[in-house]
């Protein structure tokens, strides 16, 4: 065991590696390292990597981030449209290809995630819009023989002496001019799109079945592949008889790939039926001896033991507990979870003439390109990646084993291939939110201040598995040996020296504790781990906000007042708690309904939630959730509301149902009958209150999730007196 004293500031800073603290060059002028990634079409003007303005005045926006439902196309079109003076709904939006100009300014790579998009592009994309508008005005001034200051713009038109001229009229002249690098930005008072509500720009396509998802791609000669994988992750094939599958109608190929056996057929259903005929025998791996009970036993043992990395250490825990007016200790459990986006993993790959074209909805086109390169031997510059709409992601689509599979298959069989996973594949062969055992010991003084907070978490580290998964794609030129060494170093580091920030993020930072200690002990059994909406916050909030409720009740203080008292050094969260508390005080729940409260800061955003629950036939029913959020300027307030609504439903599914069990090392659950998702008849009404703090935008896609499970658990306590410390919540009857 090693002790490392990291101050809270240092801790938070290191968390920024994941939360998005690294700002790197964002090419606004197209003068990046590589040439501009888009070709002008039919006289189009391409001032930078993001825009193409055509003579017919249609304007294409090359969206650098990936749309998984979070509304990023609407949000980014709003940012660039605001300064370019184009109604966001008027853009022809396409997903950008792979190019350094499209890197996420928060991450250095072309990834989408971490609730970073609005925050990271708020200034850069507005600047792109402003610079482009300025060069169009300059071109119009030349052509119209006027001074630039005599010209105005209005939604794709230059206004001069009361006449309207389409931007497209000036593209030839504009193309010969040098756009400014830092045209002035609008003041927030002049916004006509930012912070205004209008329909999502992809709603019509998504309501008419015309939005194209990865699974909808269909190219000439395309064959369909289905893969049989080991029920126990990591087991290789011992033997398999492929003759029955090969004899099935439509089947063209049955081949071994690194993850299992692929069946290729003319149609999906043929491949699927044929794959059923395989009876592979798999080698044994240690994970095959694990089941949920033995796994849990390991966690308990490590919790009881002394091992661990100290992730935060301030003041003196033992003295704090000694001096406390009262102390509490409790242990919380949260299980493994699958993401289960409604569109299962899929990809289409066409390899011909030494070039490759990939279609897949991913959270990292760059990693997808790199994986195709790595597993096909084709240079990245000869690989085109077409990103598509994603039927949900929640972190899942940053992990691209399906891209590796499709590359291995297409390379081996020399046909254009579409690979589609089944729902069973998704639940059983995916990447998972790690399970966690968390213990908190806390002490309070006579005034209701929590003076002491000693937290320990036992579980796996998402950060290490993310490196393992991302490095091969992001650095296709790095050898496996180097990557394994790097991952091994990271693993050794987080096990013995510095905790993985994502493993413990959110477990103590929100409150004014004088004495804090956070300890982390790694345990992994071989299930691959992944970011899952809100990552570490998805479980630490449950322990932290349940314990705060327990302390408030033990101290006889109102839980909202209690949190206000303990957030004096955290004004933004304090304000959100205060506003939510005022709303809660006015609520008059009907007979048999009870309220629970929780608040949490994550992805730079503060959220408080109130859950109204009843107990029906021994089951928890959530009727209404009120959510107060401060995410800075809401780029589109209605999209912010939608993300809070969605995060609450996602978090409620986890709070009420979400659980994966291991049996002989295999995931027992397989589809929506045993891995249920909240349905409409179980869904609460949601009211969202956006606190307009006027600061730059902060995260929106994830921060609505962390408070919901503890808010419901706290309401269940109010209703029944039962303190449920395990997710999913199950009442004792």
């Amino acid at each position: 065991m090693s002790i490392l004293n990291v101050s809270r500031r240092g801790f938070l800073k290191s968390s920024g590696i994941v939360g998005g603290g690294l700002v790197v060059g964002f090419s606004l002028s197209g003068c990046g390292r590589a040439p501009l990634p888009i070709e002008p079409e039919a006289g189009g003007f391409v001032p930078n990597a993001f825009l193409q303005i055509s003579p017919d005045n249609s304007i294409r926006f090359y969206c650098p981030r990936d749309e998984m439902g979070q509304g990023v196309t609407t949000g980014l079109a709003t940012l660039i449209g605001e300064e370019l003076d184009v109604d966001p709904a008027a853009f022809d939006v396409v997903f950008a290809g792979v190019h350094p100009d499209y890197n996420n300014p928060a991450m250095m790579v072309q990834n989408t995630g971490g609730s970073t998009s609005m925050k990271a592009h708020y200034l850069p994309l507005r600047q792109v819009g402003a610079n482009t508008r300025a060069v169009l005005i300059e071109a119009a001034a030349i052509e119209l023989n006027l001074r630039a200051d005599q010209l105005e713009t209005d939604n794709r038109y230059i206004i001069a002496n009361g006449s309207r001229y389409p931007y497209g009229k000036f593209v030839n002249t504009a193309a010969r001019l040098q756009a400014p690098e830092a045209a002035p930005l609008k003041s927030t008072d002049d916004f006509r799109y930012i912070n205004h509500t209008f329909p999502r720009i992809d709603a019509v396509a998504k309501a008419t079945g015309t939005a194209e998802f990865g699974i909808d791609i269909d190219i000439p000669g395309m064959h369909h592949a289905v893969v049989r994988r080991s029920p126990v992750t990591g087991a290789l094939i011992e033997s398999v008889d492929t003759s029955a599958a090969k004899a099935m109608p439509g089947v063209t190929d049955v081949i071994k790939i690194s993850s299992g056996i692929a069946v290729v057929a003319q149609k999906y259903w043929q491949a699927k039926q044929a794959a059923q005929k395989l009876e592979p025998v798999w080698q044994e791996v240690p994970l095959g001896r694990m089941d949920s009970a033995s796994l849990r036993h390991d966690y308990e043992q490590l919790m009881a033991g002394e091992d661990g990395v100290v992730a935060a250490d301030e003041g003196d825990i033992e003295a704090g507990l000694e001096a406390a007016h009262g102390t509490l200790e409790a242990q919380y459990w949260t299980p493994y979870l699958a993401h289960a986006p409604l569109e299962p993993m899929n990809a289409v790959l066409n390899i011909a003439d030494g070039k490759a074209e990939l279609w897949s909805g991913t959270q990292s086109s760059q990693a997808a390109q790199g994986l195709v390169a790595r597993f096909s031997g084709i240079d990245p510059e000869n690989i085109t990646v077409h990103n598509t709409y994603m039927g949900g992601a929640f972190g899942r689509r940053g992990f691209l084993t399906h891209v590796i599979e499709v590359t291995e298959i297409a390379t081996a069989v020399d046909k254009p291939i579409q690979l589609v996973w089944s729902r069973e594949d998704d639940i059983r062969h995916g990447v998972y939110r790690p399970s966690s055992l968390m213990k908190i010991r806390a002490g309070i003084d006579a005034q209701g201040n929590v003076t002491t907070w000693d937290a320990k978490r036992v579980g796996g580290n998402v950060g290490v598995d993310t490196l393992r998964s991302m490095l091969p794609g992001l650095f296709p030129g790095l050898g496996d040996g180097t990557i394994n060494w790097m991952v091994g170093m990271a693993d050794t580091t987080v096990r013995g020296w510095i905790a993985d920030p994502t493993s413990i993020e959110g477990i103590f930072e929100d409150y004014d504790f004088e004495n804090v200690k956070v300890t982390h002990t790694t345990v992994e059994h071989g299930l691959p781990l992944a970011f899952w909406r809100a990552v570490g916050h998805s479980y630490t909030s449950f322990a932290k906000e349940s314990m705060m409720d327990e302390l408030a009740i033990a101290a006889g203080v109102d839980p909202v007042e209690f949190r206000l008292t303990n957030t004096q050094n955290n004004p933004r969260l304090n304000n959100v708690i205060r506003i939510a508390g005022e709303v809660m005080r006015e609520m008059q729940p009907a007979q048999g309904r009870y309220l629970g409260f929780a608040a949490h800061h994550s992805f730079a955003t503060d959220v408080a939630e109130i859950a109204e629950v009843s107990i029906d036939n021994g089951k928890v029913r959530v009727h209404k959730v009120t959510c107060v959020v401060d995410c800075g300027i809401a780029v589109n307030p209605d999209v912010v509301r939608a993300q809070m609504e969605g995060s609450i439903m996602f978090g409620l599914t986890a709070a009420l149902y979400g659980n994966l069990d291991l049996e002989g090392g295999a995931i027992r659950e397989s589809n929506f009958h045993d891995y249920p998702i909240l349905r409409m008849n179980e869904a609460p009404a949601v009211e969202v209150i956006i606190v307009d703090s006027g600061t730059e935008p902060t995260g929106v896609g994830e921060p609505g999730l962390p408070p919901i499970a503890p808010a419901v658990a706290n309401a269940v306590f109010a209703a029944t007196g039962q303190r449920l410390r395990s997710l999913p919540l199950k009442l004792q009857v």
Partner: protein, 165 residues
């Protein structure tokens, strides 16, 4: 050879009779609006109308569809000519990822054809077979009730207030 009506036109296919309708429509007739979510009748992403009823098609063998009238999302409305539900879906920004929405709208359209003024509870019952992993339920319900001419009776319909800090 199996013949049926697809969005008003007579079509025929020699896909194996046990092939589910969903895959015939997607892979053979190349209509990609109906989605695959579970393949087990559990999520509703594959919902189409068969003789007007909302049916899960991921398990339904094509042999059972012979001679019947199949409508998919493509047959309900188009971006230029939206069905009232689709217009409401746009106006209320119902979709998030959008993947479930074809199925949601097909279930909703069958409900309204059957019961033009459903109660909120009727909507819950009719829509309980359609999963939305993104959690758009409040808006789906609001859009259906709006099209039926009813106001939503629960608080989610009230516009969220903007509160000064």
């Amino acid at each position: 050879m199996i013949e049926f009506k697809l969005n008003g036109a007579i079509v025929s296919t020699d896909d194996a009779p046990d092939t589910p309708l969903l895959w015939v429509v997607r892979d053979t007739f190349k209509l990609k609006g109906s989605k695959f979510g579970c393949g087990a009748g559990l999520c509703g992403a594959c919902t189409m109308h068969i003789d007007g009823a909302a049916i899960r098609t991921c398990l339904l063998p094509i042999s059972r569809v012979a001679g019947r009238d199949v409508t998919t999302i493509e047959g309900l409305g188009t971006p230029e000519n939206l069905h009232p539900l689709q217009a409401a879906w746009h106006e209320l920004s119902v979709p998030q990822c959008g993947y479930c929405q074809s199925g949601q709208i097909m279930s909703a359209a069958a409900l309204l054809a059957d019961n033009p003024s459903p109660s909120a509870a009727d909507v819950d019952t009719a829509m309980a077979g359609n999963i939305c992993r993104c959690g758009c339920y409040g808006r789906i319900k609001e859009a259906i009730l709006q099209v039926s001419g009813a106001a939503l009776a629960y608080d989610a319909a009230a516009p969220a207030q903007e509160t000064g800090a």
